[in-house]
Symmetry: C2
Subunit: 331 residues, 2 copies
Amino acid sequence: MIRRRRRVTIADVAEVANVSAMTVSRVINNKDAIKPETRQRVMKVIDELDYAPNHIARSLTGSRSYTIGVIVVDIANPFFAEITAGIETVAWQHHYNVILCNTQEDPRRERQVMRMLEAKQVDGVIVCSTRLADDDLPRLLEMFPACLLFNRETTAKDANVVMLADAAGIVRLVEHLEAGGRRRLGMIAGGSRSHSAQARLDGFRSATNGDDALIEHIETAHIHTGFRAAQTLLARQPDLDGLVCHNDLAAVGAMQACMTHGKSVPGDIAVVGCDDIPLASLISPKLTTLRVDRRVLGELIARNLFAHIDGEQPTRRQVIRHQLVIRDSAP
Amino acid sequence: MIRRRRRVTIADVAEVANVSAMTVSRVINNKDAIKPETRQRVMKVIDELDYAPNHIARSLTGSRSYTIGVIVVDIANPFFAEITAGIETVAWQHHYNVILCNTQEDPRRERQVMRMLEAKQVDGVIVCSTRLADDDLPRLLEMFPACLLFNRETTAKDANVVMLADAAGIVRLVEHLEAGGRRRLGMIAGGSRSHSAQARLDGFRSATNGDDALIEHIETAHIHTGFRAAQTLLARQPDLDGLVCHNDLAAVGAMQACMTHGKSVPGDIAVVGCDDIPLASLISPKLTTLRVDRRVLGELIARNLFAHIDGEQPTRRQVIRHQLVIRDSAP
DNA sequence: TTGAAAGCGTTACCAA
DNA sequence: TTGGTAACGCTTTCAA
């Protein structure tokens, strides 16, 4: 059972300072005009009693809770952890706290979490890579005074959206490969249910007038799946001289497959990945890839939300481009 | 400016259902006895109006806020991200939310964050690797109905503690090396200000009756610092046949140095790390190291806190041992 | 089994 | 420049 020590209240301060609670309230909120003398006296008592306003009571009066909700599919995924770090930084600058909710890719849980956040009167939510159906989204999002969706479009009213330019990023990779003289490019594409996998594949197709024989799909992109996909692809198309991979892990596997196949990287074939995970610069040859500064991305997302909360006209839709990181695997 | 849509209140439900607010309250809390007929009617109205209790108002009445605070030095660090994932899982099972606070190793910010959390009436806090001074800790922690410290001891009353058995883990590594016939062991030790570095060093010393000539210090443990430290150590002690490294990154660098030095791993010299980062099983030879399941650790931490919150007698001090992961670098 | 009234700590509104 | 009163939405307490 919880036992909370009695807190000093505004009434305590008022009594000791010989003023009304209202006056104390005005002092701590810097509102209205207060006689400097009175203010001094109240401040002194606040200090002596170590008074701090009760945020719960404040929230109840209706204005703000100074809390936002952040919903992610998996906080243990460094991608979201870094975004969350950026969000938290900006939130704190705005004197806000973050309620972090991990949904583990479960849409049911996502729904419950949203209702809970609304019941706790958060001033806004940030939803990263939601798994909710398009139809459910508007009704849920519209419960909140402000909301922002990362990597998902929606018809919800007043929802802002921040998207990663996955397709454009892949196009740049392809252009880089072609500028390096590569003529026959293949792709190892990611899972069919993933939004970003679809976008990356679209980018590849549009940049290459994609021949489907040059594309190999893997459901989960990992080193060994990348390895096998590259083997299949090379068996089918021995003259490939460039390989675009859904992500860095797959690219690492693909490079191993190339070498097993007797092809040198980048001599005979160039390999590129996507995400710039730490491993990308630790292996040999170092991987050419796409990067987005995830902490900065989180900060940008949060700033967008707070613009909304603060009543400024926020950017409705923001698209963030990757940065091309050129290393040894495709110089 | 925030505009919050008017919520359905308990009074609305009461009016439509033709009962008092109290009856509605009893229904949603399953408290006291209610005539089944009345309960049915109230439930129906709740459903129709889509009523959900306002948690802020609930918290104000004094019992619980159903929110805990989690304070970490850096959520972008996968170590803490995974622990946080574990904590969040258990919190949600208890119908709790987590306010996540990132302190970026700044003790001042940590203090502010704690005051804020107290003002928001959290029912408990979990503080991971605090940078606060021993003297500040008790006063701050005692503001909360329940608190738990990870990897830090304290004299604060009613504070529970979960510690990682860093020293014991290193002892096990040393024993493993000695069982494998290694006779002359060196160590690459970590930063002087780090709690865990100190503990790991202590473990090494106690297990080897440590000769300081066999120990090399690095301020930040990374691949290149590990490389250089190993070089220095090998130059000084060419007959080393075992090397214990503060963490996996340093171990990776150390292995490279060994090979550069013409020593094969594990043939001529065994190398072990600590932490089991993803890279550890990706490089060759695969690294023998220490692991602790960080998600499970987070769950354990949270369960300890909730035991306290729920008034059970929680374990005052819990020590978590690493698991020895034997791979190729020290079979 | 149900209800009325008081209170949680704060702020909005109106009055002095 | 200050204070009284009434909310905010709920639960506790006491009474019926």
